[in-house]
Amino acid sequence: MVWQKTLQVILFLVLAPFAGGLLSGLDRKVTARFQGRQGPPLLQPFYDLAKLFRKQSLVVNKLQTFLVGGYFVFSVFTGCLFFAGGDLLLAFFAMTLGEVFFIMAACSANSPFSAMGTQRELLQIMCSEPMLLLAAIGFYKVTGSFMVDEIVGTRVSPVAYLPGMFLGFLFILTIKLRKSPFDLSTSHHAHQEMVKGTTTDLTGNVYALIELAEWYEEVLLMGYIALFVINREWWSIPLAVLVCLLCYFFEILVDNVFPRVKWDKMFRSAWLVTLVFGGVNLLVLLCVRLIH
């Protein structure tokens, strides 16, 4: 059992960056095709990362490097916890701690762009986290456990009981994958809008760590999507992979169809969507349980 979990963690540590990088590459390629462009090579994110590791690193202060390291470690740790079949709530708190490290790193830079980016990053967390927590509670209500390896052992896919949660999760996935709104501090469209917000003062290998952590996080979010689909049958795993890819494609589509959504729209709508989709779903589950 311990060996199996160790193997799962090692597999995640090794394969997640490749999967995350490939997803990013696919994203840039598909986005380019949507816009009538040829797009960069599929492996472009790996070229970018390799370049960043070989660039000179201008360190603003040593504390920032430490804090970025903390963000990276906790992003990876969250993924390890999740893919080893650990506690969803613990994974959620570890992820939040990682984000706190990231925000502190940006705050330590003393740059107006970083400060503005930090404020938007905090708003982003405020908008997206409730849905993540609600989804974890939803999984608990359906399967009776917060442990990932017990959730994947259910008879019926959780999405059958949690369709609202799934839709709500898809909504915040747009924010979490840094697709939309475009003026989020770490959005990949923010290269011009506010000079890349929180990462403005990061260079070279320190910035590369952020990119790498994002790939781990991307795979973790896809894992969350898969958790909605996987049950004890073998065929649910390929189905989950297919659903993950479809969801990712859907997010790219949303990004391209609504390119000018701003942070204030996210701020106004995220909690509403969470309440309507997640809250109502939870309420219905509770009512059904009461009746039975």
């Binding site: 380019a32 816009q35 009538g36 462009r37 040829q38 797009g39 960069p40 090579p41 472009q44 790996f46 070229y47 970018d48 390799a50 370049k51 070989r54 660039k55 000179q56 690193s57 201008l58 290269h191 011009q192 809008e193 000079v195 890349k196 990462t199 403005t200 003062d201 990061l202 260079t203 070279g204 910035y207």
Partner: protein, 150 residues
């Protein structure tokens, strides 16, 4: 993997008439499609590899250009786009113009033209990325003997 496979570009408008700027932006459109070489048009000097400048240098923008250049981490390449950025162009004799970009920072690639054609700009960027690799090699070569002595 080479540095040249991921050139991120920073565009600064010195005192350009905007002719060259429009052509620079045209290179990122679907028609000329600079992104197919992995180029990202970044707004942050700390993330940039190529510093692309249009327009001549005057006393107001000289310190700005110098500061941006200093903020770009090594290896970096400077591309002067348009005849004004190369040597001042038709504004050369004006009282406020100091001259081309090379009056304040070292320029690696000169792209002439008024305005510079998108094809010429892409050509300039392509020459710049080759230089990026060369500069990285020089940096490695400079570090190795020093490490050997230590």
């Amino acid at each position: 993997m080479k540095m040249s496979q991921s050139p991120w570009l920073l565009h600064y408008d010195g005192s350009s008439c905007n002719g060259c700027d429009i052509e620079v932006l045209a290179t990122t459109t679907p028609v000329y499609n600079l992104e197919r070489f992995g180029v990202i048009n970044t707004g942050n000097p700390k993330h940039a590899d190529i510093f692309l400048i249009t327009g001549g240098i005057n006393s107001q923008n000289a310190p700005v250009v110098k500061q941006i250049y200093d903020q770009i981490p090594d290896p970096k390449v400077v591309v002067a786009v348009g005849i004004c950025a190369c040597d001042g162009g038709i504004f050369k004799e004006c009282y406020n113009i100091l001259g081309g970009v090379d009056k304040v920072i070292p320029v690696d690639i000169y792209v002439p033209g008024c305005a510079a054609r998108p094809e010429a700009i892409i050509d300039g960027v392509q020459k710049a990325v080759v230089l990026l690799d060369k500069k990285r090699q020089q940096m490695d070569a400079a570090v190795r003997p020093a490490a050997g002595r230590a």
